[in-house]
């Protein structure tokens, strides 16, 4: 078997990635994807030193998408970051931001308290380096897993496995519930496996690579179990999807990822596939509403087009306009950091303007943290596309 290694060899120094990196456009503090990625990778293999601007990469993956040579630039950056932190202490801030799952579990006993505490302690968070302006997510009073357990599904022979991910599970469970409703409307039964853990994306960006790998191993085992039985696995979060499918392959040497990845779907993508096969429930009720749409970078990085836009186009009356204005700037927990907040807002400014100019008051997007940032930066309401799909199914029966 050919060893999977991310060598810097295919870079031709064409500089396309530099032109497409939103962080490079927003700040001179970052030396850019080509330099920090493939170019310095050659140096990292031969010397021990620190590139201070490495911390500015947000892992948004616009570089990877634009590279005509297929260089996994952002992954080189993340691996370098992990190497950097191998024998260095990490900040409390980075620990907190990377361990959303642990934090959520800690506060799960008293969710109301946790949110209350969160508001009260923004001053303290600021002291440890979390911006007091950033749109930190609140914990939901009941996690998705809890809500799901109390839900009575109709059983169907065709089943799908749902990977909720931390954001849906702890912060935005309604998206998960909408997903289940949409699946049920399509005569599919949803299986949720409690053994799933955080995909590792927030760990990777702060250099907790070993922990991320532990998580990956556990998830891979479960994913393989279900895909081996022929069940599709579906995510509603594009960063989780990208991680489980692609980044696991680039970051870790775990067997079998390439195989199960073929049966891993984004929810919108999955529904469109059903449509192609003539199996989608198209009993859509009319929604005479207008929305803007924002494509998350991690959706675009998966190279599947814009399934959300295509899917919503099936709903009669619905007017969804693609903002097509690049990265929103949040990149997971990047924009939460005090020293990155301004950069993050600068990156998103183009998108915010496009949204404001459109005059539309609600933005649809698959990614939970994109929705937070857009709500914050453009002062609008936000939705997951599946929420509209569910609404349309329900409208049909009214």
């Amino acid at each position: 078997m050919k060893k999977h290694h991310n060598n810097p060899d295919s870079c031709t120094a064409c500089t396309v990635c530099i032109a497409n990196c939103p962080v490079t456009a927003a700040t001179r503090k970052f030396r850019g994807p080509k330099m920090v990625g493939p170019t310095l990778e050659r140096m990292r293999l031969s010397q021990d030193d620190i590139e201070p601007s490495l911390e500015y990469c947000s892992n948004c993956k616009n570089c990877d998408m634009s590279c005509p040579s297929g260089v996994p630039i952002s992954t080189l950056n993340m691996l370098a970051r992990a190497k950097y932190f191998k024998n260095r202490k990490r900040s409390l801030r980075d620990w907190i931001l990377s361990h959303g799952e642990k934090m959520a579990k800690l506060s799960a006993a008293t969710p109301g308290m946790a949110n209350f505490g969160m508001k009260m302690s923004r001053g303290i968070l600021k002291k440890i380096g979390i911006s007091d302006k950033a749109p930190l997510p609140a914990y939901a009073s009941k996690s998705f897993i809890k809500l799901f357990k109390n839900l009575k599904q109709t059983s169907y022979p065709d089943k799908v496995v749902f990977y909720p991910g931390c954001f849906i599970n702890y912060n935005d469970p309604q998206v998960g519930m909408d997903f289940v409703a949409v699946m049920q409307a399509n005569k599919l039964e949803v299986i949720v496996e409690e053994g799933f853990v955080c995909c590792g994306s927030p760990l990777v960006v702060n250099g907790f690579l070993d922990e991320a790998e532990e998580n990956a191993k556990q998830n891979v085992q479960i994913l393989k179990k279900w895909t081996d039985k022929g069940y599709p696995v579906i995510t509603c979060c594009t960063s989780c999807g990208l991680m489980l499918k692609q980044e696991y392959q680039e970051l870790f040497h775990i067997e079998g990822v390439a195989e199960y990845a073929k049966q891993l779907y984004d929810a919108d993508e999955f529904l469109l596939d059903l449509h192609d096969q003539g199996r989608l429930n198209t009993n859509f009720g009319t929604l005479n509403e207008k929305y803007m749409y924002h494509a998350p970078c991690h959706l675009r990085a998966q190279g599947m087009g814009l399934p959300g836009v295509e899917l919503l186009a099936l709903i009669p009356g619905l007017d969804v306009q693609d903002a097509d204005a690049g990265c929103c700037g949040i990149s997971g927990n990047y924009g939460f950091k005090d020293d990155k907040y301004d950069i993050s807002m600068e990156i998103g400014s183009g998108l915010f303007k496009a949204i404001k100019d459109s005059g539309r008051d609600t933005v649809v997007s698959e990614c939970g943290t994109c929705r937070l940032q857009i709500g914050h930066g453009a002062n609008v309401k936000t939705l997951h596309p599946l929420t509209l799909v569910r609404k349309s199914y329900e409208a049909y029966h009214k």
Partner: protein, 538 residues
């Protein structure tokens, strides 16, 4: 007319080693080099500071010389030696019986060999083929030819040594069977001049036969070409030798950011027949696959070739000296006093060769000062304070490299340039991490006449893009600095790009082809360099 006691011909390792040794013993000397320093085999080679393991079985004496010199050079030349250590790995294709013989032979000449498990070897070097059968650790190291040559010169200059580059020897002046001077031609201006001297030492490597012929003396040197491949990144952090009787394509040597695989062997007519071809490259890849099975997925940067000065003695000659590795020919035996040629040997033994020749010359000159080249470091260590300062001015991964290239004095000068104009900190060569300030410093040196001279001093243009971006930047810098040799920028462009092309041509497929198309787009399309050069003729 210039005057000196000894003229040394050849700016390779041997020549600069002799210059340094002579100067350290207080003998006045000038070194002449027809091109730039390290133009010859001393940069067109593998860069392995042999532990001697490669020679132990067949030539115990050479093995012994290697391990002794290896130990000395690690110490005195630590700024050009990378102490990587080496592996000898036997692949599934290699004869098991040889392994025992090899271990025994190494022990006999004092080369330490430590067996390790294949598993451990793969942990240390994950890119190695898992099919290898057994592995030993040896004290091999990587040695940078350019830097070694430069640092010898820097040391010699401190002791009064003089160096003339782009100065070719065209005649040896004699009177009553005694050398009295040398006739030279400046290869850039064509100007011919004479230098009076009492002694000439020819350290012209593969060219030694041509030099001796100028005095009507026959020195039988057969140039033997070896081709090497430079890979874009460090695929191994240790030297890896194939554990089998020495043969083609046996060795991988990591150097800074790259890895070099070699070599082939073929008799050629001319010492500067150094144009490699695709057939040799493919042969090397085929052989190299046994040690690194993914070899074809690693990007090549270029292929290059050098010629070994293989010497065959005339059986009727008398007074032929020294070891089997190299010979010192005192041409007094051929009827001309004050003329010595030194031929053969290896880079690893350059210092020993220099010592032997200098002993001989000093004997004639009645100089009794003992040789100290084995105990005095080539360049001083950069002080921790200066290093700390350098880190403030150089970009990441740049300070150590610059310090090892420049030495303390050069480093101070480059820092001063950056202090004066902070924008000079920007990288002119991004692939090899060379700042604008360092390029300008190298360009201003009295031995620089073209961009390639700057390249040899800095590694500019020797990384991934092979000149695609740094060519126009460096030509611009030279032009903007108003250097006397920078007036005709078209010539500068052509010289540098053609030089890069020579090594790219034999490996023109895959990523290299894509890079070359980008380069062509920049220079032929956007800058229309060829059009500019053609128009000059009108």
């Amino acid at each position: 007319m210039q005057k000196t006691t000894v003229v040394v011909i050849g700016g390779g390792a041997t020549g600069v080693g002799i210059l340094r040794d002579l100067c350290m013993r207080g003998v006045d000397a000038i070194l002449l080099e027809q091109q730039d320093l390290a133009y010859g085999t001393s940069s067109r080679y593998h860069g392995l500071l042999h532990s001697g393991g490669r020679y132990a079985v067949k030539d115990a004496e050479a093995g012994k010389e290697c391990i002794e010199e290896n130990t000395i050079l690690r110490k005195i030349g630590r700024h050009c030696v990378e102490q990587t250590e080496g592996f000898f790995a036997r692949t599934h294709l290699d004869d098991e019986a040889f392994e025992g013989k090899w271990v025994e032979a190494c022990a006999k000449v004092g080369i330490p060999t430590i067996p390790i498990s294949v598993e451990e070897a793969l942990r240390l070097e994950p890119n190695l083929s898992p099919k290898i059968k057994s592995v030993y650790r040896v004290p091999d190291a990587a040695i940078d030819g350019f830097r070694m040559v430069w640092q010898n010169v820097a040391s010699a200059r401190k002791y009064g040594g003089r160096v003339l580059t782009y100065t070719t020897v065209i005649g040896i002046e004699q009177s009553n069977n005694q050398v009295v001077g040398i006739k030279v031609r400046n290869t850039l201006t064509g100007e011919v001049s004479d230098i009076a001297c009492d002694f000439i030492v020819s350290a012209a490597g593969s060219w030694a036969g041509e030099i001796a012929a100028l005095a009507g003396i026959n020195v039988n040197v057969q140039p033997d070409r070896g081709t090497l491949i430079a890979f874009n990144h460090r695929i191994t952090s240790r030297i890896v030798n194939r554990l089998r009787p020495a043969s083609d394509g046996d060795i991988f040597v990591p150097h800074g950011s790259i890895t070099i695989l070699g070599t082939t062997s073929a008799s050629v007519n001319k010492p500067d027949d150094t144009v490699p071809n695709a057939k040799e490259v493919v042969e090397l890849l085929n052989i190299g696959e046994a040690l690194f099975e993914d070899i074809r997925s690693y990007r090549m940067l270029r292929a290059f070739a050098g010629t070994r000065p293989l010497y065959s003695a005339d059986p009727n000659a008398t007074g032929r000296g020294a070891s089997r590795g190299f010979v010192t020919l005192d041409h007094a035996h051929d009827g001309l006093k004050g003329f010595v040629s030194v031929v053969g040997g290896k880079f690893t033994t350059y210092r020993l060769m220099a010592e032997k020749v200098t002993d001989l010359v000093c004997g004639y000159l009645n100089v009794k000062t003992p040789c100290r080249t084995a105990v005095e470091n080539l360049v001083e260590d950069t002080s921790p304070a200066l290093m700390a300062k350098a880190r403030l001015y150089f970009p990441a991964y740049g300070a150590e490299l610059a310090a090892s290239r420049l030495g303390s004095e050069g480093l101070e000068k480059v820092i001063a340039r950056i202090q004066e104009k902070p924008e000079k900190r920007q990288l002119l060569c991004e692939c090899e991490n060379v700042t604008m300030a360092e390029v300008e410093e190298a360009a201003a040196d009295s031995t620089s006449y073209m961009i390639s001279d700057v390249r040899r001093k800095t590694r500019m243009g020797m990384g991934t893009c092979q000149g695609a971006f740094c060519t126009f930047r460096s030509v611009g810098a030279v032009d903007a600095n108003g250097l006397s040799w920078g007036k005709d920028t078209n010539v500068l462009f052509k010289e540098f790009l053609q030089g890069r092309w020579k090594g790219i041509r034999p490996i023109l497929w895959g990523n290299v082809m894509r890079e070359m198309e980008l380069t062509r787009g920049i220079y032929e399309g956007t800058l229309n360099i060829n059009g500019a050069i053609d128009n000059e003729g009108i």
